[in-house]
């Protein structure tokens, strides 16, 4: 590193991820820089001005590695390369550097649990059981072993074991049968995975979203999830990262109950972040039932997490809206409300985008974002949701929520100059969500657009580290339709009040502790009456919300 050509464009901040807004990008669908119908790193680099304007702090890339793409790239066939559709390793480095220069960090998905069946390691392993890779996967003659482990892809997989006629044994896979699990009991596998991490961190990557981490090990008499061995390996990963790099982040994807997920933070010595899965379906439930209780309860039952760690919060992502972490009754309710067409269901979830889940209701979309941004954790946006893109449930698997980003009203939605037939997926063209109705260019120019509103929301959140760093305290007003809470960090006290109802509501809040403070509404900076001795009365529009900064009254 030289002083005049800095490679470091960030002020040191080991807790940056706690204040960050994340933005998940489906590289294939973002922007096509070489006119071949598929998004790539050169294209993504061209759109960095947009992302810089949007104000997001960290880009999360779906797996960019070589892959036969039978599972959206989560079936990796080479951990040390870039899929040729996306460009070269140099293109990747250029993109990361350009993102850094614009003040944005980049993390990438990494699947440690399994590889593609096409991976040379697996091919070696099945053809040469005694060879160097013979023990890199989980082989058995008995396909009844570990029957306590649930099947995750219920719709396609009858078993976690699949017979391999070449080796004449069953191999273990927690996901698709074309994704054999690596054998973490083999120290060489562990070592190689650490090499993978180092390789990408050396190229400048700011961290990883660790896909499917609960399943690294298998043990008799267990369901094979969240095992102590798995945590021990993740601690080793963290120690390696901390020893050699600064300000990097490990974000665990563990679709589990909060009490199990917190294990992935260790004692602050495992993952920096983990997704909070259970809170998300309850947000959808709360807004449909007009009842704050599901959210208040799940947050109450969420254990506190070590200092220096953070929840990742999201409304939607590239997968189905997963309903694994709800009760059966709750799941039935959510299916009834949000997946009226059976085509909308996938596995234990609903494969739709945010806008279409909320019937394209602008107030509902904003309310859900406001709730998301107000909760303790770092919000993760999914590309296209900032303009209210829809989905196409007639496309297979999860492709319906992975259609091309809609940049303009021009051909192919401005996503690609390739022939329409060449596109990896057709862009949305329906009259409500199609690119002629919903696109970045139009929404940039329209002052009241969803995009412009999200932009302001992000800017506001970034001005107030309290949202990322502060304490959370639920207020429990008598009116159950109101979700209200207070966030506090240093001298910044923020009161968030959300009306989950379709009708206007009044609420009385006990704010006696802040008596004398003046609530200042944070978007319009309007001062409200000072907090006095009596309960504080607020009225809220249907699906409306207020965020107030409670200012100590210093006169004007």
């Amino acid at each position: 590193m030289s002083i005049t050509e800095p490679s470091n464009w960030f002020e040191r901040d080991p807790l940056w991820f706690k204040k960050a807004v994340f933005y998940e990008i489906h590289l294939r669908g973002f922007y096509d820089g070489n006119d071949d119908g598929s998004g790539d790193f050169r294209g993504l680099a061209e759109k960095l001005d947009y992302l810089q304007w949007l104000g997001v702090d960290c880009l999360w890339l779906l797996p960019p590695y070589p892959s036969p793409l039978r599972d959206g790239g989560y079936d990796i066939s080479d951990f040390f390369g870039i899929h040729p559709d996306y460009g070269s390793t140099d293109d990747f480095k250029y993109f990361v550097d350009q993102a850094h220069q614009r003040g944005m960090r980049v993390i990438s998905d990494l699947v440690m649990n399994h590889t593609s069946a096409d991976h040379p390691w697996f091919q070696e392993s099945r053809t040469d059981p005694a060879g160097p890779y013979g023990d890199w996967y989980v082989w058995s003659d008995d396909d009844t072993r570990w029957s306590e482990a649930r099947i995750i892809f219920l719709d396609t997989e009858p078993s976690n074991w699949t017979w391999d006629p070449v080796r004449g044994q069953y191999y273990w896979h927690r996901f698709f049968s074309h994704q054999p699990d690596l054998n973490y009991d083999n120290p060489e596998v562990q070592e190689q995975m650490l090499n993978v991490l180092r390789f990408w961190l050396d190229l400048g990557l700011d961290g990883f979203r660790l896909d499917a981490v609960p399943y690294l090990y298998e043990r008799d008499g267990t369901n094979g999830e969240n095992l102590p061995e798995t945590h021990a390996f993740l601690k080793r990963v963290r120690a390696e990262v901390d020893a050699r790099y600064t300000d990097r982040v490990l974000l665990a994807e563990a679709n589990q109950w909060p009490a199990d997920v917190v294990q992935y933070f260790g004692e602050g010595d495992e993952c920096h972040m983990a997704f909070h899965f259970p809170v998300m379906p309850r947000m959808f439930m709360a807004v449909r039932r007009e009842d704050a209780l599901p959210m208040v309860e799940i947050l109450e039952s969420t254990p506190s997490i070590p200092e220096g760690t953070q929840w990742g919060l999201f409304l939607r992502n590239h997968d189905e809206l997963t309903l694994e972490m709800v009760t059966d009754d709750e799941r039935d309710y959510l299916y009834d409300e949000y997946a009226k067409d059976p085509r909308m269901k996938l596995n234990l979830g609903i494969r739709r985008r945010l806008a279409s889940l909320l019937d394209n209701g602008r107030d509902e979309i904003q309310l859900m974002h406001a709730v998301l941004f107000s909760l303790p954790g770092s919000p993760v946006l999914y590309y296209g949701d900032e303009i209210g893109m829809g989905d196409n449930i007639f496309l297979g698997d999860r492709d319906g929520v992975r259609t091309p980003m809609q940049w303009t009203g021009d051909r192919n939605g401005g996503f690609s100059r390739a022939d329409f037939q060449q596109l990896y997926l057709p862009p949305l063209m329906d009259p409500v969500y199609g690119f002629q109705a919903v696109n970045v260019e139009a929404q940039l120019r329209q002052p009241n657009s969803l995009l412009r509103w999200i932009h302001r929301l992000i800017a506001l959140r970034k001005d107030h580290p309290v949202f990322g760093l502060g304490t959370y305290e639920a207020l429990r007003p008598e009116n159950p339709r109101i979700f209200a809470h207070v966030r506090t960090y240093e001298d910044d006290v923020v009161l968030c009040v959300h009306n989950l109802a379709r009708s206007a509501q009044a609420v009385e809040l006990d704010l006696s502790r802040w008596q004398g403070s003046v609530p200042e509404e944070m978007f319009g900076r309007t001062r409200f009456p000072a907090i006095g001795e009596l309960p504080y009365l607020l009225t809220l529009a249907p699906r409306g919300f207020f965020w107030f900064q409670l200012r100590k009254d210093e006169g004007e």
Partner: protein, 435 residues
Amino acid sequence: MTGERELIEFVTAQRWFGSKTRDVAHSKVVDRLTLRADEPRLELLLVEIRFDTGTHETYQLLADDSLDALADPRQVRELVHMIRGGAKMPGRGGVVEFAPVSGFGGELREARPVGAEQSNTSIVFDEELILKVFRRLEAGINPELELLRFLTEHGFPNIAELFGWYAYAGRQMDATLGILQRFVAGARDGWERALDTMGEGADDFISSVRRLGEVTGSMHSTLGSDSHDPSFCPEETSTESLGLLTATVDEEIESVFLDLPDDVPELEPIRGRGEEVRERLRLLTNLGGTGRVIRGHGDFHLGQTLWADGDWVILDFEGEPARSLPERRRKRSPLRDVAGILRSFSYAASAGPLLRGVEPPADWEARTRAHFLDGYREAVEQSLVPSGASMDKLLSVFELEKAVYELRYELNNRPDWVRIPVAGIVRMLEEEVPV
């Protein structure tokens, strides 16, 4: 050790402290490096100033017994010596590196501070060298160093030559701390010259502005001339780039109008007209091409130019101090710089009577503008800017952006000057939209 209150009191009282409207809660020294251990001792401090919401800014202090060692000529001479010697000074959390560009001999004798600066502190030595110490630090290379080096390497003559710089690389951040360049002796800055000649000699000034247009155009051509350097290569604008520009300016207008104080009578002509201004922006941004985007000066106005020996020298490539470093490093249309200088002609025309008691000739601003644009159009690489009405419209968009920026700046810093951007905004509302 220096106390927290002492640091806050010192920093917030400085002219270069950028966040005067915010409440400071805490401060701390994040690194302290000894530049000279012998008497007089000299230390470099990186000080973090934390606001009540928990965000912070980092400032550079040079300290001896006081927190303002730059007031002592012996101390600043020491900094120049260290640049000349290419010194490297390690500290607890990082290292300060001094780097000379080319030899400059002789003993330094006289040092004098330059008054009235916004965001940094400058000291002139023997009327030959000027050391600029950046106060507010951000991670990354300062655009001033970046642009001066680029322009020097690409043979653009109308700048003050770079002699060296010093920078910090450490745990907390990598940042440019200061630069040393040629002091243009016997020069008068464009702003002073405009005011001084407003009564008599206006014609001389106005015709020299044509040359300023040429120099500006050729500066932009140079800045857009290297397609191999990713930091500088000119880029085609994307389909949504005009939308990005519109959104950015529109939000600035909205936010400034939201914050207009009730008790400033000078604001009357624009009070309640925020929507009208935004509507005007929408009309102006209906345009065809936008040309290309390049790295630009970033904060171009008459005060950043010098008239010396019959030609112009361009200074201060830091960009607008209120914007973040990634924002200042962004490629933009070169017309943004042009709009900046056009706005400063407008400032000068209003400031003449205010500061000098001299009324400019009625057509002073119009003629100055026309001369500048003539020279500019002739010298600038044509592919960088749009043509015809699109150029006029895009220019108006940037003038509007600038006037709104000025409005906020004046409200916070110089309430007496508020009426100048106000008049500018009113005039733009009344003008015909170019077709």
